[in-house]
């Protein structure tokens, strides 16, 4: 079980690393905006699946927190791109993240009860780690617009908070 999970995590890291590398060079602001927005939407979808399947109070509360926070951040992101007159641009990284999330959703759909709860929370820890890594190493340094950079930096703090929150929930599920 653990080996399977670790392999899954390693796979996600590899895929995102290669997805980020595929862009060859720095992503542009419209691409960065698209990646950040997509990352939030995917986490909302994962949380919605958890709300449909889980009966665990702590897991459900965590999922509700994810829906609430990511909805708010994406609302701000949309307001910003509108203000800056930027059209978010689909790209390999966004597509890679979306593909991985779909695979994870299918995998989680087969699980129930505690097995689902543990796998969902472990996936949330891994997902936030991956996104935080991308924000720190690529997205924030590549962002040209100061307001976009600022929003990404706040987003990073939120995501880091979510990662720690997910780690607490994972520890409680053990």
């Amino acid at each position: 079980m653990f080996a399977k999970l670790s392999a899954g995590v390693a796979m996600i890291c590899l895929l995102s690393a290669s997805a980020l590398a595929q862009g060859a060079g720095k992503p542009t602001d419209p691409q960065i905006a698209h990646i950040a927005y997509t990352a939030g939407q995917l986490d909302i979808e994962a949380a919605k699946q958890a709300l449909e399947k889980s009966k665990n109070k702590e897991v459900r509360e965590f999922a509700q927190d994810m829906v609430r926070d990511h909805t708010e951040v994406n609302k701000q992101a949309l307001a910003l791109v509108k203000k800056l007159n930027v059209t978010p641009q689909d790209n390999d990284t966004s597509r890679g993240l979306t593909k991985q999330a779909a695979a994870k959703r299918d995998e989680l759909a087969k699980l129930n009860g505690t097995a689902f709860d543990k796998a969902y929370v472990a996936s949330e820890v891994a997902y936030h780690k991956t996104v935080n890594g991308a924000l720190e190493s690529t997205l924030i340094p590549s962002a040209n617009n100061a307001q976009l950079k600022d929003l990404l930096q706040t987003g990073l703090k939120i995501f880091q908070g979510h990662q720690q929150h997910a780690e607490h929930v994972a520890a409680d599920l053990k």
């Binding site: 926070d69 930096q153 703090k157 939120i158 979510h162």
Partner: protein, 108 residues
């Protein structure tokens, strides 16, 4: 008639309460972009800590010792009155990377 006779002690009690609360201070801690500022405050028993949440996100302040949790909805304030001396560490349960500390001195 009875009402009037009773009103004096009531007034005395009220002014007594007011003078006590006048000595106690309200210390503000701002939350901006997931940071408690100042991160550490010095207070005394009877003081009120007031968090001003400038974020559009729901936060809270939960004392590590379990004494209190103050809910802090987006763009709203929340308060707690300090009743015990000592160092209280607190954090936001939604974003555990948000941490703060209150050092409460005994009332002078």
């Amino acid at each position: 008639m009875t009402l009037r006779r009773n009103s004096l002690p009531v007034l005395v009690v009220i002014s007594g309460l007011l003078s006590v609360s006048a000595r106690a201070e309200t210390i503000q801690v701002t939350i901006d972009k997931l940071v408690f500022a100042p991160a550490e405050v010095n207070a005394k028993i009877g003081d009120t800590i007031e968090w001003v949440n400038k974020d559009s996100l729901l936060h809270n302040a939960k004392a590590t010792n379990g004494d209190w949790t103050v809910n802090l909805p987006p763009k709203q304030n929340g308060q707690v009155v300090l009743k015990k001396a000592g160092t209280i560490d607190y954090s936001c349960t939604f974003h555990p990377n948000m941490k703060g500390r209150i050092i409460v001195a005994p009332a002078s």
